[in-house]
């Protein structure tokens, strides 16, 4: 990409640094009797990447739909770019980008037409929209496919085009709902690199994910959501430090012929917190090797063992 292209993106965020992009207080969303989001509090600071992490059904997408001004809040309060999404939806959307969970590109149009037509909705002139589309195609690494029909693109390309489309209005705040779900590893890493570029330019990112590695890669701060509530909040490293040990020992035991695992009883009686998963046992310990020795000394004989650094996945399993 050209060195100067899209440099303007971060500028708006810098100027708007006095306003918090998102402030939610006791934010609640109900569908009939079902409480999708249960009184959550969170704040996104200018220029940071903030992540909502949680399993399917945790309330992430409902939260995103409220922030994107599409879905009315049930109770609590929510301000987006300093304004009320209910009353000022149009003005907020003028300065925000939205990458939905499902790509909703216009399949009847070419790659470039998708960008140009979308820019028109933001009041950008045809000439400016065409010029902008060149920059965005470079950003999305789709310049060679500019005149291709969208239908012919791979999943990763469609995702990058959807993200490029969300940047047509130089948003101060970019919402990304499960940006890499369904992509292969190469496509994911390329997308992370693109998002990291935006972050370096100062664009505020609010993203949901159920991938721990994604949150660890991108997020400055995150909340872990479960069943509509926030289970934990902090920086990735803080969450790991405060909710799990430094290291994790993974133990595997042989399977019975009937499919159950031949696990010894009372694995939690050796002074460590353990998590029993269907395929393996996690042992939280600051020194994994020492923990393994303790188990062996007590007659526990796993068929395989591994010591690794704790990740957000462990925090997630510990909390949910």
């Amino acid at each position: 990409m050209r060195p100067n292209s899209l440099r303007h993106l971060g500028l708006a965020a810098t100027i708007g640094a006095m306003v918090r992009p998102v402030e939610a207080t006791k934010l609640t969303k109900k569908f009939g009797d079902f409480v999708a989001v249960n009184g959550i509090d969170f704040t996104v600071e200018p220029g940071e990447t903030f992540s909502l992490l949680g399993p399917n059904g945790a309330g992430k997408s409902s939260t995103m739909k409220m922030v994107s001004t599409v879905s009315p809040i049930t109770s609590g309060s929510l301000t987006v770019l300093g304004a009320d999404p209910q009353l000022d939806g149009r003005n907020i959307r003028q300065r925000m980008g939205v990458v939905p969970q499902e790509d909703n590109l216009d399949l009847e149009l070419t790659v470039r037409e998708n960008l140009v037509i979308y820019a028109r909705y933001f009041g950008i002139s045809w000439a400016a929209a065409r010029a902008l589309s060149n920059d965005l195609l470079q950003f999305a690494q789709l310049t060679e496919r500019a005149d291709a029909q969208v239908e012919s693109l791979s999943g990763g390309m469609k995702r990058r085009l959807t993200i490029a489309r969300a940047l047509v209005n130089e948003p101060e705040l970019l919402l990304l709902d499960e940006p890499t779900t369904g992509l292969d590893p190469q496509a994911r890493h390329l997308l992370w690199e693109r998002l990291y570029t935006l972050k370096e330019r100062g664009v505020t990112l609010l993203l949901t994910t159920h991938y721990m590695d994604e949150a660890e890669q991108l997020a400055d701060r995150l909340v872990i959501m479960d069943q509509g509530s926030i289970a934990a909040e902090g920086r990735p490293s803080e969450l790991i430090a405060s909710h799990v040990s430094k290291e994790v020992l993974e133990l595997r035991f042989p399977a019975h012929p009937d499919g159950t695992r031949n696990r010894p009883e009372g694995l939690d009686r050796h002074g460590f917190r353990v998590e029993l998963l269907p395929d393996r046992v996690l042992v939280y310990a600051d020194d994994g090797e020492a923990a393994l020795q303790t188990f062996r000394n007590n007659g526990v004989a796993p068929s395989a063992s591994m010591v690794r650094r704790a990740t957000l996945e462990d925090v997630f399993l510990a909390l949910t």
């Binding site: 708007g16 306003v19 569908f31 994107s68 599409v70 879905s71 009315p72 770019l81 300093g82 304004a83 009353l87 000022d88 939806g89 149009r90 003005n91 907020i92 959307r93 003028q94 300065r95 925000m96 980008g97 939205v98 939905p100 499902e102 790509d103 909703n104 590109l105 216009d106 399949l107 009847e108 149009l109 037409e113 037509i117 979308y118 028109r120 909705y121 933001f122 009041g123 489309r165 969300a166 209005n169």
Partner: protein, 265 residues
């Protein structure tokens, strides 16, 4: 900071952006749809207007010199209804539910009210284009003789909108298309047959006749025929137009509500 003035819920700018988008989309497919929407009324004109009409000697009760001149203008309005009806069912559900392009548009400054209004207007424009082409056929066959015929495509567009607005409003409340077949078979098709396009509704039993006259399509047929043959009076023109506009207004208000509710969930 976000501007403190409250944004308006319906703007010409928003509608223009939405319609631009539809025009660009239409560029790829207009040939096939234009040809089919021109052939469809021509089939009725040829088979019923000229074919069946060749068996009819006395047209004195119709108020036209020959049967084709009676049917030709009626087909303009009824086909407008069928075209608008068709576009308000499956393609509307598709746009709202499956394609995702309407959801994408609502992540821009566009409002749901603008989207609903633009959606209905776009159907009206499609009907207007088809009706204009078909009018040129009526001119070629010497059926459209009055200068007022130039207004007939607008009458067809109003007829189409009188169905597009309430039907699109209904479609926006649907999850599945299971009701669309019955709407076609026991709604649009009978209205087509009882519209007064093929025979004067005064031939019908009184209750059926009044039912026919209450349907907007009868007013569309009367308006189109009166304009194309130059027989319309001021009273009829204003009355039929006002009745069609009433259906459009009520349907549009419902559509704004149902589109807003559907697309904000």
């Amino acid at each position: 900071m976000i501007s403190t003035t409250r944004p308006r819920w319906l703007t010409i700018t928003g509608l223009r952006h939405f319609l631009e988008h539809q025009f660009i989309r239409y560029r790829a497919t207009w040939r096939s749809t234009v040809i089919s929407s021109l052939l469809f009324p021509i089939f009725f004109l040829v088979t019923i207007g000229f074919g069946l009409g060749s068996q009819i000697d006395d047209t004195s009760s119709l108020g036209t010199t020959d049967y084709a001149s009676f049917v030709g203008p009626g087909v303009l309005a009824t086909v407008a209804m069928l075209q608008a009806g068709g576009l308000s069912l499956w393609p509307t559900l598709g746009a709202i539910k499956w394609e995702g392009t309407y959801q994408a548009a609502l992540a821009t400054p566009l409002t749901a009210a603008e989207l609903a209004t633009g959606h209905i207007l776009w159907i009206g424009i499609r009907v207007l284009v088809g009706a204009s082409l078909y009018l040129s056929v009526l001119v070629m066959f010497g059926i459209a003789t009055s200068p007022l015929a130039a207004l007939a495509p607008l009458a067809a567009a109003l007829t189409g909108l009188a169905f597009a607005a309430p039907l699109s409003a209904f479609t926006a409340t649907r999850e599945k298309d299971s009701s669309f077949g019955p709407i076609n078979r026991v709604g649009l098709t009978p209205m087509f047959l009882f519209s007064g396009a093929f025979f004067p509704v005064s031939q019908l039993p009184d209750t059926v006749e009044w039912f026919s006259r209450a349907m907007p399509v009868w007013h569309g047929v009367a308006l189109s025929r009166g304009l194309i043959t130059g027989t319309i009076g001021w009273f009829g023109a204003v009355g039929h137009t006002a009745y069609l506009l009433l259906w459009i207004l009520v349907g549009w208000l419902f559509a704004v509500r149902t589109f807003t509710a559907r697309l904000s969930s």
